[in-house]
């Protein structure tokens, strides 16, 4: 008799003269100890030279049992079925027999079964190509829907709640002031410090003010604001809409005949687009003051001189260019966040993926747009 541990379970295999194999089970069968060794013993007994024609059980000495006995018996039944060996479960505890019957229960129909087939290599390539097409088509369709909804909004025919719109103005604007101020101030100080170290060598330290002002207004202000808003607001849009999708709130709107694009996307996208230039302007000022902190403390320039020099260095078109960029960045971040939220799957994991994709896509789009702006502004001599 096999006994892994005398205080737990015991099993013995007894051969009868008529080709019957009796499996004697005894002791305590509990989940916390494995049963793989016993299954292997039975597997060997079933496949040996003297394979039995029938298997029966004697479980009269079992003290207690749980699912480990059931799983063991289920496995034995499976082995017997595969080898066309008859099995007699009469010697098992009644409860175990009943639960095994329950597990054997009504088989699932083929129509109910989820597809298990693994596609071939060619199929996978084809599916990937089709998927790439769909990957372009879906965002373009979304942009089209948003444009159409925006058109309806201009004609006062779009349906959304004014309270949501105002709430988003607050969330995208006022609530972001703190983090934008911190990052912009630090950006200004870093730019000024790097410039000061170089320009001091030529006695041109006053140009630190020009460097910081032009860099902040033209590139760093809009760019840093966009990165912050992609991580903060774009992610928030995706998570909010994704969760609504999981909770079927989006479907509820659709079935009521309310466009989710009008009701959910526009009240998020438009406030973000409106707030982005204002936040960039705010970031420009704070960045210039960050530079001034270094100019005054390290280069011993007067605050007035620094600020006047900064103001004179910024051309109107530089300022307008920066504002225009941040406006476009707002559209890109808002679209990326809302698109990922609206197309989110129906699980918690899908919400996480949508949020990550919203941030990554938002930042990538902003950087690509920044490159395009650099080339266009260079051609236009702005």
């Amino acid at each position: 008799m096999r006994s892994t541990d005398s205080s737990t379970r015991q099993m013995a295999v007894v051969r009868g003269a008529d080709g019957e194999m009796v499996i004697r089970l005894a002791g305590v069968w509990r989940l916390h100890h494995g049963f793989g060794a016993e299954v292997e013993d039975i597997r060997r007994a079933l496949t040996g030279a003297t394979a039995p024609s029938r298997v029966s059980f004697d479980a009269s000495r079992i003290q207690s049992w749980d699912s480990s006995l059931l799983a063991f018996l289920d496995e034995i039944a499976e082995l017997c079925r595969a080898r066309s060996v008859a099995i007699d479960q009469a010697g098992l505890p009644q409860g175990a027999r009943r639960l095994l019957e329950l597990a054997a229960g009504a088989p699932v129909s083929a129509a109910q079964m989820p597809p298990q087939r693994v596609p071939s290599f060619l199929e996978r390539v084809g599916l990937a190509v089709i998927g790439m097409g769909a990957a372009l088509e879906a965002p373009l369709a979304f942009v089209g829907e948003v444009s159409a909804a925006f058109g309806r909004m201009l004609r006062a025919r779009a349906r959304f709640r004014g309270a949501d719109f105002l709430e988003m103005i607050r969330a995208c604007g006022i609530d972001a002031l703190g983090i934008v101020a911190l990052i912009s101030f630090l950006s200004g100080t870093i730019l000024a410090f790097m410039g000061a170290v170089q320009l001091q060598q030529f006695g041109a330290q006053i140009y630190v003010a020009n460097l910081v002002a032009i860099a902040m207004v033209r590139e760093m202000g809009p760019m840093m604001t966009a990165v912050i808003m992609a991580g903060r607001t774009g992610a928030s849009f995706a998570a909010q809409l994704g969760t609504m999708k999981v909770r079927q709130e989006v479907e509820a709107l659709e079935t009521m005949g309310i466009s989710p694009i009008e009701f959910l996307v526009l009240p998020r996208l438009i406030p973000l687009v409106l707030m982005m230039p204002l936040l960039a302007l705010y970031a420009d000022f704070i960045g210039v003051f960050g530079g001034a902190a270094i100019g005054v403390s390290m280069l011993h320039l007067s605050l007035t001189t620094y600020l006047i020099t900064s103001a004179h260095s910024i051309w109107p078109m530089t300022f307008v260019g920066g504002m225009f960029k941040s406006f476009i960045y707002g559209i890109l971040i808002g679209l990326a966040g809302c698109y990922q939220g609206i197309r989110c799957g129906n699980s918690a994991a899908a919400v996480g993926q949508a949020t990550t994709a919203a941030v990554v896509n938002g930042i990538v789009l902003v950087v690509v747009a920044c490159g395009i702006f650099a080339m266009v502004f260079n051609v236009l001599n702005i």
Binding site: S68, G105, V108
Partner: protein
């Protein structure tokens, strides 16, 4: 039991016998789920104690609580399956965490549990790929993975068709009969209550108290509390009384 100043339930006292199917019933908002959350340690009662086999759960240390909760299985209202795992992985996770079983043994036990709830063939499906009723059945399979001594079911029939609902009722009775599991069910589904309950308590949302305890059939026959009778007869007794007047 309270949320801040708002008292949900007061002076609730009852015993659940080992091997019973015990139902916590009452109308919507009466505090059934809050009571369940207290029993599972997800909320703390303002005063009083919860005892498991005579040992205080409320005053137990965190490791003691974990050990006590390991003897419990819970089916949450929507199944609460982990969406990034297949059904087999969902059921296998507690076995992998709390037993010394080999991976193939874990798979065998998990397959068996899924088969017991009628999900044979769906082992590799993700929760998002199956229906709500199937998710709930998979939740049952996960709850019974470790053969717990006590099983808690939060609204097991909610949102299910009568056949699936009856299948879960049958499973509860089978587990009680064959494994001796104590089952605590929170529900307001009368068909389930009458089909499975050995004992039940009625929580009254108006008084915020436990107003009746007993076998539902006996409560229906003998209980004089108007609200309990109204609940157990779907309000028919009130309608009949109004018609008589």
């Amino acid at each position: 039991m309270a949320y801040g100043e708002y008292v949900v339930l007061r002076e609730v006292s009852f015993d659940v016998q080992r091997g019973q199917v015990f139902v916590i019933m009452g109308g919507s908002g009466c505090g059934k789920s809050t009571l369940l959350r207290n029993l599972l340690g997800l909320e703390e009662p303002v005063t009083g104690d919860i005892l498991y086999s005579g040992r205080s759960f409320t005053r137990a240390s965190a490791p003691e609580r974990t050990a006590m909760l390991r003897q419990c299985g819970v089916l949450y209202q929507n199944g609460a399956l982990w969406s990034s795992m297949t059904l087999l992985e969902n059921v296998g996770l507690p076995l992998a965490q709390f037993t010394d079983l080999a991976p193939e043994e874990i798979d065998q036990v998990a397959r068996l549990k899924l088969a017991m709830v009628g999900l044979k063939g769906f082992e590799n499906a993700y929760p998002s790929e199956i229906s709500g009723g199937m998710q709930k059945r998979a939740g049952v399979a996960r709850a019974i993975a470790l053969d717990p001594q006590v099983l808690f079911f939060d609204e097991p029939s909610a949102g299910l068709d009568p056949i699936t609902s009856s299948l879960i009722d049958d499973l509860i009775l089978e587990l009680r009969a064959n494994l001796g599991t104590t089952v605590v069910v929170v529900t307001h589904e009368l068909a389930s209550i009458f089909a499975i309950a050995d004992d039940a308590i009625f929580l009254d949302g108006e008084t915020r108290r436990l107003t009746a305890q007993g076998n539902p059939h006996e409560l229906l026959a003998h209980c004089s509390d108007r609200r309990v009778r109204r609940f157990l007869t779907r309000g028919r007794e009130d309608s009949a009384a109004a018609e008589t007047r």
